[in-house]
C-alpha cells in the first residue's frame, strides 16, 4: 500500500498515485490487454520520479540538459503512459489509441511516443543505454542524471550484469538504477524461477552504492532518488521492495495478474479499493 507523510503535498501525491492505479486498469480494459500487476508495482516509483525528481517538463522534452529516464522493464508501459499523461508530457487523448491499429502506444515502451526516451521491451537492454547516456552527460559536461528502472525477473539477463560492470568501471555517479523488486515474474516467484539474490551484495561488489527501500513509501522513494549519489563517483542502485499488483487487494502477490484483464465485477472491486484508499488519505490530511 502506498504510504506517505501526512503533509498535504504528500497526501496529494499519494492520492494521485491511487488514481493512477485506476487509470492503468482503465487503459488495460480499454484495449483488453496489458501488463497489469507489474505496472502497479512500479507506479509509486514512477509517480515520485515524474512529480518530484526528474528535471523535465513539456518544454524541455528535447533539452540536452534534461534528466533521462529509461524504463528497462518496458512491459510495464501502461504505468508510464498514465504518469506521462498526468505530468502533462503526453497528450491524454493519445491514450485512446493504446494498442489500436497504427498506434505508437504499443504494449512496450517505444521512443516514438512523446516523453519516452528510448524503446525497450526486450529485457536486459535499458541499463546499457543508461550507461551510454551517463557517459555522454559526463563527457559533455552536462549535469543531468540518468534513471533506469529494471524488473527483478529481468536481472536474469546477462546483459544487465555487463552494464552493471561497466557502470562501476566508469564510476558513473550520474546513473541511478531502480529495481522494482516485486519478487514475481510470469511463471512464479523470482526465488523459484531464478534466484538473483543477494542483490545488495552483488551490486555493491560491482561498485555501486546500494539503498534498500520500501518501494511504496513515497517519502523513502523521493529521498533515495533525490539524494543520489550519496557517494560521489559511484552509480546508485535503489532496490525498491514492491508488491506486484500493489493497491488492488485481490491482485497483490497473485501471479495470475501479470497480464490478466479485470472483468466488470473485478473492476468494481478495484474501483472500491482505490476510492477507499483515497478517502482514507483525505481523512488523514
Amino acid at each position: 500500500m502506498t504510504t506517505c507523510d501526512d503533509e498535504p503535498a504528500g497526501v496529494d501525491l499519494a492520492v494521485r498515485a491511487a488514481e493512477y492505479r485506476l487509470d492503468v486498469i482503465d487503459l488495460i480494459r480499454s484495449a483488453g490487454g496489458g501488463h497489469t500487476a507489474g505496472s502497479l508495482s512500479c507506479l509509486d516509483i514512477l509517480t515520485v520520479l515524474y512529480e518530484r525528481v526528474l528535471r523535465i517538463s513539456p518544454e524541455t522534452l528535447r533539452h540536452p540538459e534534461r534528466d533521462r529516464y529509461v524504463q528497462s522493464k518496458g512491459h510495464a508501459v501502461e504505468a508510464l503512459y498514465v504518469v506521462l499523461a498526468g505530468a502533462g508530457l503526453l497528450d491524454r487523448a493519445l491514450l485512446g489509441t493504446y494498442l489500436r491499429f497504427g498506434t505508437n502506444l504499443v504494449g512496450h515502451a517505444t521512443g516514438s511516443v512523446p516523453g519516452i526516451e528510448h524503446s525497450t521491451g526486450a529485457l536486459g537492454h535499458g541499463l546499457s543505454v543508461g550507461v551510454g547516456m551517463a557517459i555522454a552527460g559526463r563527457q559533455n559536461g552536462l549535469g543531468y542524471r540518468v534513471f533506469v528502472l529494471l524488473g527483478d525477473g529481468e536481472l536474469a539477463e546477462g546483459s544487465v550484469w555487463e552494464a552493471a560492470m561497466s557502470a562501476g568501471h566508469y564510476r558513473l555517479g550520474n546513473l541511478v538504477a531502480i529495481v522494482d523488486r516485486n519478487r514475481h515474474q510470469i511463471a512464479g516467484s523470482t526465488a523459484e524461477i531464478m534466484n538473483s539474490e543477494p542483490l545488495a551484495e552483488k551490486f555493491a561488489a560491482f561498485g555501486w552504492t546500494v539503498h534498500e527501500i520500501d518501494g511504496h513509501d513515497l517519502v523513502q522513494i523521493e529521498h533515495a532518488l533525490s539524494s543520489a549519489p550519496t557517494v560521489p563517483g559511484r552509480p546508485t542502485m535503489v532496490l525498491a521492495d514492491t508488491v506486484k499488483g500493489s493497491g488492488i487487494s485481490y491482485m497483490e502477490h497473485d501471479i495470475r495478474w501479470h497480464h490478466r484483464v479485470p472483468d466488470d465485477e473485478e473492476y468494481a472491486l478495484a474501483r472500491r479499493d482505490v476510492e477507499n484508499r483515497i478517502a482514507e488519505l483525505r481523512g488523514r490530511a
Partner: protein
C-alpha cells in the same frame, strides 16, 4: 600473387586513419571497442584521442547498448568489434536499441566474412547481411578496397542514422584505379565494361571478380565487373542496366547464399521481369570447409579461375 589480391593496405588501417582525421574536426566522434582496439588496429586512435575511445570489455551486448545511449545524447559512436560477435551476439541490441530506436550508431564489423579463415566457423560472419538486411533502417556496406572503406566511414560520420560497415582483414589492392575523386559509395561502380558476362561483387570478392574478368578477356570474353558496396539499399538501377546488357550474370559474395546480395539481386531482377542467366555464389548451406580465406572462397567457386569457368559455362 596476382594484382588484385596483392598487398595494399588492410581496410582496418584505413579505419584508424580516417577516424582520426574525422575526430580531429568533429568532437562528437567516439570509438567504442570490446577489447578490440588491437584487432581493429586502433592503437593510433587510442593514443591520439584517449578520451574518445570508450572501452567496454568483452561484452558486445553492452557495447551496442551503450553506443545507443551515447548516440541518443548527440555523440557519433563507431562501434568496432569482430563482425562475427558484433552482429550475432548483439543482434537484439542492434534490432531494438539501434534499428527500432533509430539511434545513429555506426556499426563496424571487422575481420568479417571468412577473414579469420582456418580459425573456424565460430569466427566467421556469413549471416550478417541477412540479419541486418531484415532490420528496418540499417544500410549495409561492404567496401572492396581502401578507397571504398574510407568513403564508407566518411558516409557513416555524415549520416544521422545507423549504418553497418563490414571490413575484412586482408591487405587489399585498389580496385578503382588511380583517381583523385572520392568514391561514391552510395552507388555501385562499373569497374570494367563488357557485354558477354556481368559479375557483381561486394567487399573482398570484387578484386577476385576483376581478376576473373582479366582471365576471361584473354580468351575473348568481355565482362562487366560491378563493385556493389551497398548490399542494402540495393542499387537496382545499376543492377538492371548490367543485367539487360549481358548474356549472363554472376553475383559473388563472401556470405551465406541465404539472405545476402545474391538473393537480393535475384528478387529484384524477377520483380522487374528481367530474364538473364543467373548464378549466385556464396557459402552454401553446409558446414563450411576450413582453410585460408582465399582458398575457401575458391573452393566455393569464388576464385579467378573458378569464376571465369562459370562465366564460360553460362555463355554456352
Amino acid at each position: 600473387m596476382s594484382r588484385h589480391t596483392a598487398a595494399g593496405l588492410a581496410n582496418l588501417e584505413v579505419l584508424d586513419t580516417t577516424l582520426r582525421d574525422l575526430a580531429s574536426s568533429d568532437p562528437a566522434i567516439r570509438v567504442l571497442t570490446a577489447d578490440s582496439r588491437i584487432s581493429g588496429r586502433l592503437g593510433p586512435f587510442a593514443r591520439e584521442f584517449p578520451d574518445r575511445l570508450v572501452e567496454l570489455g568483452i561484452a558486445e551486448q553492452n557495447l551496442v547498448g551503450v553506443a545507443a545511449g551515447l548516440a541518443s545524447c548527440g555523440m557519433k559512436p563507431f562501434v568496432i568489434s569482430p563482425a562475427c560477435f558484433l552482429t550475432a551476439r548483439a543482434l537484439e541490441q542492434i534490432k531494438v536499441d539501434v534499428g527500432y530506436s533509430g539511434t545513429a550508431v555506426r556499426l563496424v564489423g571487422i575481420s568479417a566474412g571468412i577473414s579469420y579463415g582456418a580459425l573456424g566457423a565460430s569466427h566467421h560472419s556469413i549471416a550478417d547481411y541477412a540479419a541486418l538486411r531484415a532490420i528496418p533502417g540499417i544500410p549495409v556496406v561492404a567496401p572492396a578496397d581502401n578507397c571504398e572503406a574510407e568513403a564508407a566511414i566518411r558516409l557513416a560520420a555524415a549520416t544521422d542514422g545507423p549504418l553497418y560497415i563490414r571490413l575484412g582483414k586482408r591487405a587489399l589492392a585498389c580496385v578503382h584505379g588511380p583517381t583523385s575523386e572520392p568514391v561514391a559509395i552510395e552507388h555501385a561502380t562499373r569497374l570494367r565494361t563488357g557485354d558477354d558476362i556481368g559479375i557483381i561483387a561486394t567487399g573482398e570478392t570484387v578484386g577476385i571478380a576483376l581478376e576473373a574478368a582479366e582471365a576471361l578477356a584473354l580468351g575473348g570474353v568481355e565482362a562487366t565487373v560491378v563493385s556493389m558496396p551497398m548490399v542494402r539499399p540495393l542499387d537496382t538501377a545499376t543492377l538492371f542496366g548490367v543485367a539487360r546488357r549481358v548474356g549472363g550474370l554472376i553475383v559473388a559474395e563472401e556470405h551465406s547464399v541465404h539472405g545476402g546480395l545474391g538473393e537480393a539481386c535475384a528478387a529484384a531482377l524477377m520483380t522487374e521481369g528481367i530474364p538473364v542467366r543467373f548464378r549466385a555464389l556464396g557459402i552454401p548451406d553446409e558446414p563450411i570447409v576450413n582453410g585460408p580465406q582465399l582458398d575457401v572462397l575458391a573452393h566455393y567457386g569464388i576464385g579467378p579461375e573458378q569464376l571465369a569457368a562459370l562465366a564460360r559455362e553460362l555463355l554456352v
